[in-house]
């Protein structure tokens, strides 16, 4: 067993354990943090497949951004565990259906002869840049999909704003532009001191 394999199994073990902890641990914040660990080890595994760009982006976007939002939500929303548990039996049929479908799908692919040779990663030299390879095809061959991604992101912006933005009547805004523009003469008036004059 080579050194690379040892590292692979090391990360794989952490990934499996942390993924299990995500759904078994009680505290929601702990669960979110285990999910962070799971993403991080996934990135390490992708890196071992020489998918540099994807691995880094996984850390950057999922660990660095998506999970921060998750943490914001679970830390600040005061989630009542008992209320969540009350819905457990109600949602069980739906959840179970999804789980069964996923299991069937996965076993269909895995049992139907997993052609290992097809998925063996190609080894590249030191000079190979994964990011460059992606860049060369993403903006030309996959142009349409790429622009669709922009539209989806636009949709996400609009959706996020319409869902969360609520104007309260009692809030007061400051207009920094006006604050900067203030001159001395707007605020103070110099008056002669009567006492000393007389």
């Amino acid at each position: 067993m080579g050194f690379e394999k040892i590292i692979f199994y090391f990360f794989a073990a952490i990934l499996v354990v942390s993924a299990l902890r995500v759904i078994t641990v009680r505290n929601t914040v702990h669960a979110a943090l285990f999910l962070v660990l799971a993403f991080f080890t996934t990135a390490a595994l992708w890196l071992m497949l020489e998918a540099e760009f994807l691995a880094m982006t996984l850390v950057l976007v999922y660990v660095g951004a998506v999970m921060v939002l998750f943490l914001f939500v679970v830390m600040m929303l005061d989630i009542d565990v008992s209320v969540l548990r009350a819905g457990f039996t109600r949602y069980l049929p739906v959840g179970a259906t999804v789980a069964v479908v996923v299991i069937i799908e996965m076993s269909y692919f895995l049992l139907g002869g997993f052609d290992n040779s097809k998925f063996t990663p190609v080894k590249h030299g030191v000079e190979y840049s994964n990011t460059r390879a992606i860049g060369n095809v993403l903006y030309t061959d996959y142009l349409f999909v790429f622009e669709i991604a922009a539209v989806i992101l636009l949709l996400a912006i609009v959706a996020a704003i319409s869902l969360t933005l609520r104007k309260r009547k009692d809030t007061r805004y400051q207009t920094p532009g006006n604050q900067v523009k203030v001159r001395k003469s707007d605020r103070i008036r110099i008056v002669k001191d009567m006492d000393t004059e007389s």
Binding site: V29, V63, G64, V68, N130
Partner: protein, 346 residues
């Protein structure tokens, strides 16, 4: 197997060759901060602690501080989340140090010469926010929580501007590799990216200050309102680790600014007839360190000069000023590069 062990030992030695000077720099940055701000405010600053009975301008101060912190009690607040409380400072310092793995100190003087170097640094710096959030939440203290949330929102806001500024550097250098980014800038002072990317350089520096929660963006600490922010409950060595992470980040940001905008280890006199030849013997690392010192000094200078921003001003600056500026400049830069505009992109 022996080969691997040999490799690992070499790697470890190299890591310590980076970390020991770095930690010394961190220790003396705290000293420099107190002395310099002292001078700027017409005070003396710490000047007592020396070695072997000599005062030596107080140079022993950081070591004395470290020893003092070692013997301080680590107070674990009641109802704090014990594990997360301890993990938070580790999460703060590990990315701050690990980012140094791809920083080149000269042509070929780099621990890990990876192609995605800049992406790696951006990914690791985006992890820094976890230390803050977890510390604030685990402390179970109102001040800590408020500080953590404010600072997390601030860090993520400025990370966008920072990312856009980095994209500009990539466009100019066509590479994610930090060594190549520096080499692309060769050709003398006027070829360094600070000039063609001037707005992006300003944005990067400002968001660098904001990312490290330094004054004038230090509402996370804001001692006049929320005492010390996210690390209010931390004491002893737990606090020291946060402190180390903050200063390691300052040095990292300074060095990255130099590498990406100020020609890294390249000599400023390159290409100048007499001066260039006369200073050619100076090793590149000297220039790199000198330039980095300048930006570290700037961090201290800002702290002594600017009053703290209000929170709405910080968010406004990040979203409404820095991001539009970077987007506009990216478009300008893209046109310049595709049109092969001389002198920089010809």
């Amino acid at each position: 197997m022996y080969e691997l062990a040999y490799d690992l030992i070499i790697i470890l030695l190299k890591i310590f060759a980076i970390l020991i000077p770095l930690m010394t720099a961190v220790a003396y940055l705290t000293y420099a901060e107190r002395r310099l701000i002292g001078f700027m405010q017409v005070r003396i600053g710490p000047n007592r602690v020396g070695f072997f009975g000599f005062r030596m301008f107080g140079l022993g101060q950081p070591i004395a501080d470290a020893v003092k912190l070692m013997f301080k009690e680590i107070v674990m607040p009641a109802e704090a989340n014990r594990y997360l409380f301890v993990i938070a400072p580790i999460l703060a310092i590990a990315p701050a140090l690990a980012a140094w793995a791809v920083v080149p100190f000269g042509d070929g003087l780099v621990l890990a010469d990876i192609n995605a170097g800049l992406l790696y640094i951006l990914a690791l710096t985006s992890l820094g926010v976890y230390g803050v959030i977890i510390a604030g939440w685990a402390s179970n203290s109102k001040y800590a929580f408020l500080g953590a949330m404010r600072s997390a929102a601030q860090i993520v806001s400025y990370e966008i501007a920072m990312g856009f500024a980095l994209v500009g550097v990539l466009m100019a250098a066509h590479s994610l590799n930090l060594r190549e980014i520096v080499l692309q800038q060769s050709g003398g002072f006027w070829h360094w990216y600070w000039l063609p990317l001037l707005p992006l350089f300003m944005v990067y520096l400002i968001s660098g200050v904001a990312e490290t929660n330094r004054a004038p963006f230090d509402v996370a600490e804001g001692e006049s309102e929320i005492v010390a922010g996210f690390h209010v409950e931390y004491s002893g060595m737990l606090f020291a680790v946060f402190f180390l992470a903050e200063y390691a980040n300052i040095i990292l940001i300074s060095m990255l600014t130099v590498l990406m905008f100020w020609g890294g280890w390249l000599s400023p006199f390159e290409g100048i007839p007499l001066l260039g030849a006369a200073t050619a013997w100076i090793p590149g690392i000297f220039w790199l360190v000198m330039k980095t010192f300048f930006f570290m000094f700037c961090f201290l200078w800002f702290r002594a000069t600017f009053p703290r921003y209000r929170y709405d001003q910080i968010m406004r600056l990040g979203w409404k000023v820095l991001i539009p500026v970077t987007i506009v400049w990216l478009v300008v830069l893209a046109v310049a590069i595709v049109a092969k505009l001389p002198p920089w992109f010809g």
